[in-house]
Amino acid sequence: MKPFYFEKTGTVSEALNKKSENGQYIAGGTNLVDLMKKNITLPDRVIDVTSGLSSSIERVSLGIKIGAMVRNSVMAGNSLIVSAYPLLVKAVLAGASPQIRNMASVGGNLLQRTRCPYFYDTTTPCNKRDKKGGCGAREGLNRMSAIIGQSEQCVAVHPSDLCVGLAALDAIVNVEEKDGKKTKINFKDFHKLPESTPWLDNNLPEGALITSVEVPDNAFNKHYAYIKLRDRDSYAFALVSVAAALDLENGVIKSARLASGGVAHKPWRWYAVEKFLEGKSATSKTFKEAAEIVKEGLQPLSGNAFKVPLLKGAIETALNQCLTP
């Protein structure tokens, strides 16, 4: 590992001021320490933000605010989250292992890097690691890669499960910058597509810190499902995952939310499917038709066409599961 200066900070503003251009904030460290060991991330300065960031989960006017430093396991067991957003509990428990969930923070979960094997292997080309490196995955081993929204430069997928749930529930990311400026970023705009700048995973301003994530009040705590399909049953990244939630009234879908992981560079919302579902009766026939819509616009690569039927089936199953969560 390349030597670095370690500094512990006590407040958000202190951390923001200490951040150098090549510096990295560290919270849970479950992704960053690994990336540093593999010489993928080479910070000159590592700034410990564990004391400065909030670890509380509280009710706010909009809904519930989750501090950036809340550990994944704490979030999964929090009574406010369990009753208001059980979908998030399912999503977060589908990710990683109990040890890692005890360490990993909510803010860090949003900022974790892709697990694309070409990104992780420094002997292979990767535009995300090296701006002019090329993409090895596009024409290479790409069974784990994206099937929608990818670019010539990058076909990586975002690895998070929690983020799929947060995207489905229209969360808001609270961000603070060095000059004290505080911004709210809608979850759908937080992560970005690779386009011609694949080295950027998200639209977080340079040097800024995520301070909390807010989830607005909703009626999606009765009919929800999170399905994660992967190479082994637990402790593996998703090939395809689906977060689904329905707001039902007398068997009719008032509103629907549908998002997927493992398919794109960002958690992917299926807005057209949601629109199709609204106003229809919640039957398996409706769900089958809805899953068909998903196929439009998918552009699988040489090695991941299997994700298309996998995704279609996962969406249909998730929507059906919403009726009996």
């Binding site: 030597p3 512990k8 460290g29 690994d34 396991s73 109990p98 040890q99 360490m103 637990s234 402790y235």
Partner: protein, 198 residues
């Protein structure tokens, strides 16, 4: 030949004088240049002092900022019960308890465990009396080669403490962060069931 030797000697004298003069001047600039390179390209190693309680004994150490808790345990304190499997957070062999919760010591920077209370496999037994989970692993054949076992046991103790022992499926899900290449999973699940039953 003799003349040549003389000429050569004069030339040699002139050359070496110049070299000595240069050497007398160079060190300062070479050193400054090296320091510049070091500052820009090679950050100095940083040593930090940490105070960590491990198995109820407080240790004060001066360590490199890059050192993981796993390496601190094994290399500084010779607590080699905690194993290094993958060193990348994928196998669980390095599982310890930090402030009572299971965590991966290979992905924990030791400086971030400042003032923490850490329990390793060495701290589990009560004197000569094994922890019930250690005994259960022996009784139920919860291991074969034994390399993953310290991590499995630390994780298993936490799994019981957390109450995730309702079913075999639940135990498997909450033990999925610990891999066993020998495939002793059935014995591990039985060990946990045995301890959970009391």
């Amino acid at each position: 030949m003799a003349e040549n030797k003389q000429n050569y000697s004069r030339r040699f004298f002139l050359k070496s004088s110049a070299a000595f003069t240069a050497l007398a001047v160079l060190p300062a600039s070479v050193k400054a240049f090296y320091l510049d390179v070091e500052r820009v390209e090679l950050p100095l190693k940083q040593n930090l002092s940490v105070k960590i309680s491990i198995n109820n004994k407080t240790h004060e150490l001066v360590i490199d900022s890059r050192k993981t808790l796993l390496d601190l345990l094994r290399e500084d304190l010779y607590l080699t019960g905690t194993k290094k499997g993958c060193d990348h957070g994928q196998c669980g062999a390095c599982t310890v308890h930090i402030n009572g919760e299971r965590a991966l010591s290979c992905l924990t920077l030791a400086v971030m465990a400042q003032h923490a209370s850490v329990t390793t496999i060495e701290g589990l037994a009560d004197g000569e009396k094994l922890h019930p989970m250690q005994q259960a692993f022996m009784d139920c054949d919860g291991f074969q080669c034994g390399y993953c076992t310290p991590g499995q046991i630390m994780s298993a103790v936490a799994c019981v403490n957390e109450g995730h022992t309702g079913s075999v499926a639940e135990i498997k899900e909450f033990m999925s962060g610990n891999l066993c290449r020998c495939g002793a999973y059935n014995g591990i699940v039985q060990s946990i069931q045995k301890v959970a039953a009391g």
